[in-house]
Symmetry: C2
Subunit: 548 residues, 2 copies
Amino acid sequence: MHSDELVLLPLGGAGEIGMNFNAYGFGPPDERKWIVVDCGVLFGRETDTPGVDIIMPDIRFLEERSEDVLGIVLTHAHEDHIGAIGYLWPQLQCPMYATPFTARLMEDKLAEAGLQDRVKTRVVPLGGRITLGPFDIEFHSITHSIPEPNALVIRTPLGTVMHTGDWKLDPDPLIGEATDEAAFRKIGDEGVLAMVCDSTNALVQGHSGSEGDVKKGLTELIGTLKGKVAVTGFASNLARLQSVAEAAQVHGRKVALVGRSMHRITGAARETGYLDDFPSLIGEDEAAQLPDNRVLYLCTGSQGEPRAALARIARGDHPTVQLGEGDAVIFSSRIIPGNDIAIHELHNQLSALGVEVLTVEDHFVHVSGHPCRDELSEMYRWVRPQIAVPVHGELRHMSEHARLARSLQIPQAVVVQNGDMLRLAPGRAMVIDEVPAGRVYMDGRVMTEADAGLTRHRRAMAFAGFIGITLALDGKSRIAGEPSFFFEGIPADVQEPVRDAVAATVKRHNPKRADEEDLKEQIRRAGRRAANDAWGKKPVTRVEILWV
Amino acid sequence: MHSDELVLLPLGGAGEIGMNFNAYGFGPPDERKWIVVDCGVLFGRETDTPGVDIIMPDIRFLEERSEDVLGIVLTHAHEDHIGAIGYLWPQLQCPMYATPFTARLMEDKLAEAGLQDRVKTRVVPLGGRITLGPFDIEFHSITHSIPEPNALVIRTPLGTVMHTGDWKLDPDPLIGEATDEAAFRKIGDEGVLAMVCDSTNALVQGHSGSEGDVKKGLTELIGTLKGKVAVTGFASNLARLQSVAEAAQVHGRKVALVGRSMHRITGAARETGYLDDFPSLIGEDEAAQLPDNRVLYLCTGSQGEPRAALARIARGDHPTVQLGEGDAVIFSSRIIPGNDIAIHELHNQLSALGVEVLTVEDHFVHVSGHPCRDELSEMYRWVRPQIAVPVHGELRHMSEHARLARSLQIPQAVVVQNGDMLRLAPGRAMVIDEVPAGRVYMDGRVMTEADAGLTRHRRAMAFAGFIGITLALDGKSRIAGEPSFFFEGIPADVQEPVRDAVAATVKRHNPKRADEEDLKEQIRRAGRRAANDAWGKKPVTRVEILWV
């Protein structure tokens, strides 16, 4: 008989900032019970995954053991922590646990997927505690850039894990309480086996700063502006919305929300008891009637998303909001990697309208929601785990996080990647298995495996176009008519040489010694070679036979 | 009879940082003589222009007047200033002028294009002066991130233009002299009509910093490292290479160059009298024999270029250079917009090898070669032009640059875009014409017009794949055999509904009332609609008829 083990199995987030998905297992290998912490998405990028909006972890390992998955626990409501629920829950079919605001947004996700009646959800109060089999899970409020971020204290018979979720140490978070140092120290005093911790800003010196200070910065900046003002940022950062709205009020401006997610998130917040003291809002139409210096728009679209409110305003095709000479847009946000070109293009469009663009480069209008090195150090001093397990980062973040933890005298710091099964106890932490892990895509409405190669194939066509050649053959393998061509994304000058090369190959065809596969391959190669000779690039080239 | 005018016509660079190409015209509209300043490329990006390596200005306007183009004058040897010569010179066929180092690299470009015997080139000494028709052009040495940057003082009967080229104010440039303030003030005293000036860092406060300080930073940092060290950056920044090599020497390390452009540029530099005091180099093979703490590699690949030396080292497939645990890579460079993902992936690969990645985020190992706001202000105070014309920037940079110039009491600041013909004199500066402008691509070896739509078409396929349907028809318009399909980048589940929809449409075909174009369009629509219904995306869909 095998004895109990406590293992961590990240299936997402250990290798990327996004699609967070961590499983904890307890028990002997053949009778292990599992819980899942977070179930998020990663957003696709045109460069890597054209046509794919959403990337999620491949959780087949847990799907095969779904009867032993006791529940999904959510730390907070950001998309990279809850966005995959609607897609992946059907593979696990287990109860879900979250605090009220998170649960409210989770319900939206489930409803979108038509799962609202099938999923057993339990709303956990702030500071609440639940038991799932061998796991005793306590929710500890922390600070981040959304209401109700929770660190999870997961107690098991083999030791306690502090799963931080996303966090920072904000002395003045505006919404929610500042992090309770004493509570974290007390957990440290209890003895913590492992801390599984946010690595996002492990490369950034110092401290992430406070929402309270951003509020001062915004208030000051907005006071200097004379025309219309639009502020863009993430709708889920309610503290930021509150800061902007109060800053507007100070300077006699009324606030209008612009963009669907602004309305959606503030609605959910009100339903769960937030934003009671939010300054009153006006509609977009009413705002359009006010003098320029009496209005402030809170807009979606800080990442340059082409269909969001700000992009439409910048293109001049928003139905109610027009900005021009003398107006200003404040980007109360950072540039998420990969979005720089789109965001700068948005800045250019706004500049072309005469709008002043104000960003964190020159003004104190944003702070990160993740712990910088000083905050990480502080947390390690409070919790004093035996083992540091960096997650929520690319390898470069996790490696540096591990280096930092070691420098803080944490006995063991282990860098794991998605699919590594890390035994936390008993004994020294070590990777004891590698399980199938990877990514699945929402490609349109179809879920595809990343390694199905569809996006790779499409990228190849984006690079060098496509040539399709159809050849009609009769029952005796004689060629009928002339070959037919598709030239897609191929310069005109390249087409004639390809036609000629194919014609020459077809001419050599001997129906008596016909091998169609061989003929197809000869034509394919001749066409592709001719294209390469004329163009210096090799198009994706395929040949089909049409039997007549 | 019309009277003389002095005009500026940017065909590249006024709207992007790259493909710099400015023409100056003098004379009455119908007898205008032209000079061209710089002839550069912009590098293509997979997102916008998949399969396109190089983007250049569309110079058809000048091509039609090539007999009146008196010469191309190059300010310095960066690719975004000289890279298009081999492609665009044949359209202008005029003499070329450059200082020795620039001329040496220009000759490489011409030789690559097989033009070396056709082009009349004249090497201008530093500080030299040339006359091209009505233009008297004086080369004024300035500082930048490459040897021999020149500002051009272009004197005409209607006034003097200061064309800055790329510049900064580096008090300790290491190679070449610091900028001669008195010389620039003296030109200002002469009276300058217009300054056409670098906008790259117009959004950045303060001063760009000095190569001399980078040298100190690198020397200090390299002193802390114990294993092998690789430093990556732009080969054309000879001062930086010199700094790295001297820092290595201080700490007892020998330097090996790794990557073709390192050898190419240092070779060109030696031939033109630079690098005489460069520490002696060793070969890669010799370096591999030395103890780890005695070697330093100077590598290409700071922008994550997949075929450059550093990418190969990070993938573990470089023939002579291996890095691992205990080694370090210093990125003595910034992240060029659009390259962040590739560079961070390189960091991740190096982290996976255990290599420490050191960047400008935490260490003083890089400064920009372009003027920040304090430097711009200083230059405006020296030169005191009547008109400020920001170039070398996106709209956001040029707009802010113009705002800064106005704040410095420059009487007129004009933001122009490629193709705007700006009359500088006589009278107030104004755009008097818009000429055809745009971009051409090197798509493989074929030069294509940007608006030919090839890359747009390929991007559409990258997003939603391609469906090609071939239908065989006999002489009586009767369908022969079954339609043949290409499904490229389309999920398997989507293919069956498309086949079914096409089959249903084909079934309704009446050969007696055949209109082939109509049939093709019906099939195309049916296939595309079926794909959209199954997938939520609309593939590029085409139909061809094969007559048998």
